[in-house]
Each structure stands twice: as structure tokens, then as C-alpha cells.
Symmetry: C2
Subunit: 285 residues, 2 copies
């Protein structure tokens, strides 16, 4: 069974055949927005929230939509149905379209390109839960604020990820120009101190993650103490526990930051409780 | 005769057939660098300088090269030879390669993709010289400093261009977070005041344009007074003359900024002299 199945503007392709024009503005200029989600047993996770955010991102970069929300949803469902796998990761990419000429002018493309890449989900490695992850800090150069759109602009995160792996860490924790911690390169970040759960405020330039949002709801319904505030590197270095969240990976404990153990250096007890609670909460919905 | 001819990793394609994998990192993440140049009668303009800058950009984003400089040059020359046109624009795009899986990790691709898009050059419209261009200012959100690499990160320039055309202007003049003018969305920017030529310093976050560099050399050899310094919007609004430079468009006068005439509102006399001098200087080399 193929690991990948790709839908390009309604046509299905395998990995080798899935190609787009070099005049696509996503390729030429990073002029695209995207969403990433997964299925649980062929049901897409929080798909309406992902479509909300896709439209928010498109609006943020003034990307005029030539696909309706209904059409995009139908193409997603069509792709899930065609996949041989029950649990797949989906990357939904919407570009401003194929240029009829070179040039930045958005008017040079008349129709969006919609690409849905699906991939069979492989389970998280066991050691993520038994050992936890090691992270380093990465000081951002750009000073964007407020909830971020999900665009094709990825270079800073790629460099931050590369820097981490070269230093033997799992990933970087991004820090904005004001010195506030924001997120991982492809995850949201959390810490626990004195039984209170903390995560950086969206206003610090944080991606409004769907798993982040779900966890906040869950904490609210279960009367857990949770705060969205500005947090510094020192806050994280002094935390009792730390973890990341992402749609495909759920919650994963972080046990080392900048070479120093978080708490006792083992995956946090409360983190593992939250993971269990989260998996139940998600399957209940 | 086809307007476009595209070379992808050594194979030539027409516009319809020129496609790359949706797993190309340039498409997925904007993880690419590029150069833009032109030929004059089948001779590529300052190609060694462009290759220098391509390698500078690649190094800036830690893009490991799997093509040698010699191979890239040979592919460029092969494409120029195969083109039916004497005067072509070339966009040379080097991506980190095609991922074997989704994910930011650069190790997921083992081989760069090199795409050379060529396009027959159409001459500048006459009114550019007789009437000049109208521009507006665009305040940048990111705070990058120093000479910029040419990467796939284009969104801010696209929005600035879109904003300009929607307001009836030709293009935007970018202004950095320190309030200093930097460049156009696809050009360098210049002003003349009291017979001195000014252009923003590279340290303000300006692309090290090859036409910019050539003009500075020309001014030096002809003992023209020229300064590379930090310049404000007010400096430009109070200038006697203003113009932009780019490899395909040479020098083009700017006559209106933010709806107000520059000098007497006509293409500047010294600007037109510089253009004449530039065309002679370039053909002499």
C-alpha cells in the first residue's frame, strides 16, 4: 500500500506522479497557505476548525479564493475515502495559483491550486514517552505579532530545526524579538509550574494550534488551572514539567532544555496524565 | 516561438510540461534561493556575480549544494543556447530538493533541484521613460538587517505590490522597522538631490542588486558623487529626482511618490543621462 496519496485540483496521484507547474506561485514565491490535520479511523480531526483557519490565513495574505469552502471539504473527504489507510496525516495546501507569466502581481494567476497530500500515520516512537525530548532555544529575527497565518514562509523554522539537530537536540523553541517564548518549529509549547499549566499567549506571535485549542477547552471543562501569558526562557528553564503539542503527535514530554533537565529530567507525571485525559477527550468528541 | 523555455535538472521543457514534485521543499516550505538575470544577444549579464550571490544566499540559509558552480553554469549556458531568443530573462531557482517524506528536516532531501526559467524579453513600455512611475511607501513588519539573501520568502513584497496597484501606483517602496527606505518590491531605489546620487545602504536590509552594483562602479569611474547611506521617506519626498533599477528594466524614472510629484513631476534629466551612460557602460564591458 502506498504511504502517500495526493490530490491536485481534484485528481489523485501517487508520490511519483504528483507534480505542479514551476509557475505555481507557491513554488515561485512561497505564495500559499496550508493546514495540517489527521484522521482518526477515517474521520478528519476538527476539520471545520482547520477550514476556519485556512480561510483566516488566506484572508491575512489577501489570497482570493476560487475554491468554495464546500468544494475544499468535498475534495478532502474524497481523498480520505480514496486512501487505503484509516489513520492518515493530511497537508492541505492552497496556492494563489499558476502564473501566466513571471512577476509578483497576484492578477497573473486566475485560479488557485489546491493540493492535498496524505500520508499513512506512523505511531510516535516509544522513547518519546519514556525518555522525553531535548530542546534548545532559537531567537527569532522577525518581529511578527498576534496569531500567525500558516503560510509557505518556513525558512526560519527550518534553520531553527537544523540548528537543534546539529546540536543533538530534538527541536528548537522559538523566542520572539521581545524575548518571549512562542512555539516549537512545528508544535505549540507548554510548561507546568506549581500545578498550573502555562502556554505562550497568541499575542506573542504564536500559531493558533488546534491541539492547543483543544487542550485549553479540556482544561476549562475539567477545572484545571491554565494560563495563556507571556513566558520567558527563564520561566521554561525553571519549570516543573514541559511538553509540546501537535495534531499528529498529540502531547510529547520535553525533558531537557539547553542541556539542562526540566524538573527531575524525566517525562512529567502531570504531562502523562494530561496526555491520557486528552486522548479520552478527543475520542469522546 | 515559445516565450518560455525551462530547464529542470538538465532536461528542457516548454511552459506546459515544466513541472516539479509537490514534495519539492521550495514548494512545501519556500526552502529555495534564486537569481534573476538576462542575456544581451545570448551573453548572460554578469553571470559570475550572479553565481557569487546565489552561493551567498545558499550559504545564508545553510542550503548544502549538490550542484557544483561549473555544473550550474553549464546548465545555464545550455539553456541559453537552446532558446530561440537572443534576449532572454533568466530565473535560476535552486531548492534544497525533493523530500522523501513530509517534515522540515533538511536531511529528508539528498539532492537539490535546479530550475532555470527563461522568458523572451519584452522591451520596457515607452511611457516609463516619458511619464515615469508612481510609487507608494510600504512599512515592513520584519526587521532583517544587512545584505539580504534571495530566498523563496516573498509574501511581504507580494502584499506591498498588491497594495500599490490597488491604490493606482506602479509599485511600493519598502521601509524597514527603523523607518529607513530600503528598496522596491523587485528593484533597488535611488534619489538625486543637489547633484548627489543617493541609494539606501545595504546595512538597512537591501538586496545587493547587480544593476545597483554596476551603477555604483560606473559613478566611481566617472567621478559622479554617490552615497550609500540610510535614507528616510522624507528624504525621498524632498528629492529632486528618483528612479529604480533592476536587471531586466535598467533605470526607470519615478515621478510620483504617495501622490506627490518628485521634483517637477517629470522624468529627471540626470536620471535619463544616467540611463544613457549605463547602457553604454554595460555594452562596453
Amino acid at each position: 500500500m502506498d504511504k502517500f496519496l495526493i490530490n491536485i485540483n481534484g485528481e489523485l496521484f501517487n508520490e511519483e506522479k504528483a507534480k505542479i507547474s514551476v509557475f505555481d506561485r507557491g513554488f515561485l514565491y512561497g505564495d500559499s497557505v496550508y493546514e495540517a490535520t489527521r484522521t482518526f479511523n477515517r474521520i478528519p480531526f476538527r476539520i471545520q476548525h482547520h477550514l476556519d483557519r485556512l480561510f483566516f490565513s488566506a484572508q491575512k495574505i489577501e489570497l482570493e479564493l476560487t475554491y468554495s469552502r464546500k468544494e475544499i471539504l468535498e475534495l478532502i473527504l474524497q481523498t480520505i475515502k480514496a486512501s487505503p489507510h484509516n489513520d492518515i496525516f493530511l497537508r492541505i495546501i492552497l496556492t494563489r495559483g499558476t502564473n501566466i507569466d513571471l512577476g509578483l502581481d497576484p492578477e497573473l494567476s486566475s485560479k488557485n491550486n489546491l493540493i492535498i497530500i496524505t500520508k499513512a500515520i506512523t505511531p510516535n516512537p516509544d522513547w518519546w514517552l519514556t525518555k522525553g525530548l531535548s530542546m534548545i532555544f532559537h531567537n527569532k529575527k522577525s518581529s511578527e505579532r498576534g496569531p500567525l497565518p500558516k503560510t509557505g514562509k518556513y525558512l526560519e523554522n527550518i534553520l531553527a530545526y537544523k540548528d537543534a539537530t546539529e546540536k543533538g537536540a530534538f527541536d528548537s523553541i522559538m523566542v520572539n524579538t521581545a524575548g518571549h517564548v512562542t512555539e516549537g518549529t512545528t508544535s505549540n509549547i507548554w510548561m507546568i509550574k506549581d500545578n498550573i499549566i502555562y502556554t505562550p499567549s497568541l499575542q506573542d506571535g504564536v500559531l493558533d494550534g488546534l491541539t492547543r485549542k483543544t487542550l485549553i477547552q479540556m482544561a476549562d471543562r475539567n477545572n484545571l488551572m491554565l494560563q495563556e501569558i507571556s513566558l520567558t526562557q527563564e520561566d521554561f528553564l525553571g519549570a516543573d514539567e514541559c511538553f509540546i503539542t501537535s495534531t499528529t503527535r498529540n502531547l510529547v514530554p520535553v525533558t531537557i532544555i539547553e542541556g539542562r533537565p526540566v524538573g527531575n529530567g524525566l517525562p512529567g507525571k502531570k504531562t502523562l496524565e494530561l496526555l491520557k485525559m486528552y486522548l479520552e477527550f478527543v475520542s469522546l468528541q
